[in-house]
Symmetry: C2
Subunit: 238 residues, 2 copies
């Protein structure tokens, strides 16, 4: 409930109100983030069942509840922008569902790595895109990220402990991390191809600056580098 | 996070500190409530998968996240009382797991009725027991209940709509409600038999007043009456 206060201040009609293309792009962006959080909840709640201890189960369930808690403020903002939250999410159901279908963890460890790598990648991407948003939307998007990194610490501890006890697990998990990254890129490309307005957030519009191809390439490089850093934090090759 | 502020004020050493029997009973009570919330999360997250629409799925997932959010403050209080939250929950795992094992919903509607009837019964019981608690513990226990009744409205709307469209569903759901009540009583009896300190919260101690057999009987009657009222709210016979 604390988050909802953060989106109560008067919205930014200058940007979100005047340009219908920008407004549609923001609705798209909030829709894809919302649906991502809902599926993250489902995935973490499911992974909690595989937890080896009650403590681990509660830790995963808490991560799941945190993701779901972010949906309310995102939906409220979509409504304020004059759109329906469920219609806003619909265009992204397929890509995100496919991502999860192709990356169903086969055990507890794969689930932990997926939570860490997947959420990290999504947060990095939202942080990149936040630079092109009006302040109200930017604050909301930033608040949808894993603020305190508490989840990350839990995952890193667990994964490193398992690798320390059984080093050959690292090879399998490194392959798993590559598969996650590959599948994420495949689905992101599908979304980019389908949703021009969302792509235009990054590439700019008549009155808005954006990234040229070289800058997009550098952004892609940054995302890949941060993915590699995260894998290495887990004790894994990227 | 708002809840955690409510348990920060200085605890009530008069009651919780001086009487080791009372303290053990409070740890038991907070343990059983915590574990109940964790399994409620699991059950609701599982039921969310059966939701016929994305709106229903998000409603159930939100209920699940709310239940889980109550666990943190309860665990914090158990720790303040010098006990380990996971050890405090352990004695109740079996009874609560058995309850859920014997009342696995076979469809979306049974899941909704279970959420409404089960949570209502638990809240009624905690409200009865709250009268025998020190103020700090009482506030915490009361805050673990479904404050706004928002979930209840959602369930009542959905169940009544289905019965209106297909009245013969009511017979099956009425039987289901009776089974839920019967299984809850069976498991509550097991807990009462196993945990003397918890039972003594209600029946009193050397220095504390409690309920005699007649008063316990009246409490049981109140719980049954409120269960019947809830069933009737759903449009079902008790």
């Amino acid at each position: 409930m604390a988050e909802s206060a953060e989106i109560d201040p008067p919205s930014d009609p200058g940007l979100a109100g005047d340009d219908p293309g920008y407004r549609a792009a923001v609705v798209d962006l909030l829709g894809v983030i919302s649906y991502g959080e809902i599926t993250a909840f489902e995935r973490l709640a499911e992974d909690a069942k595989l937890a080896p201890t009650m403590q681990d189960k509660v830790a995963l369930a808490t991560m799941a509840a945190t993701e779901l808690g972010k949906v309310g403020p995102l939906h409220q903002r979509i409504t304020e922008l004059g759109a329906d939250p469920f219609e806003a999410m619909a265009p992204f159901n397929r890509a995100i569902d496919e991502f999860h279908r192709h990356t169903a963890p086969s055990d507890w460890l794969e689930g932990l790595v997926k939570a860490f790598v997947g959420d990290g990648l999504a947060d990095d991407f939202y942080r990149e895109i936040a630079a092109f948003l009006d302040p109200t939307t930017r604050d909301l998007v930033v608040s949808s990220m894993d603020e305190d990194g508490g989840h990350a610490v839990f995952v890193v501890d667990r994964v490193r402990a398992v690798i320390a006890a059984d080093p050959k697990v690292a090879g399998r998990l490194a392959l798993w991390g590559r598969r996650l990254m590959g599948e994420a890129l495949t689905q992101a490309q599908r979304v980019a191809a389908d949703r021009d307005s969302l792509t235009a957030l990054l590439t700019g519009g008549v009155d808005r600056p954006g990234l040229d191809l070289a800058a997009l390439g550098r952004m892609f490089t940054r995302l890949t580098e941060r993915h590699a850093a995260r894998m290495s934090e887990l004790g894994l090759d990227a």
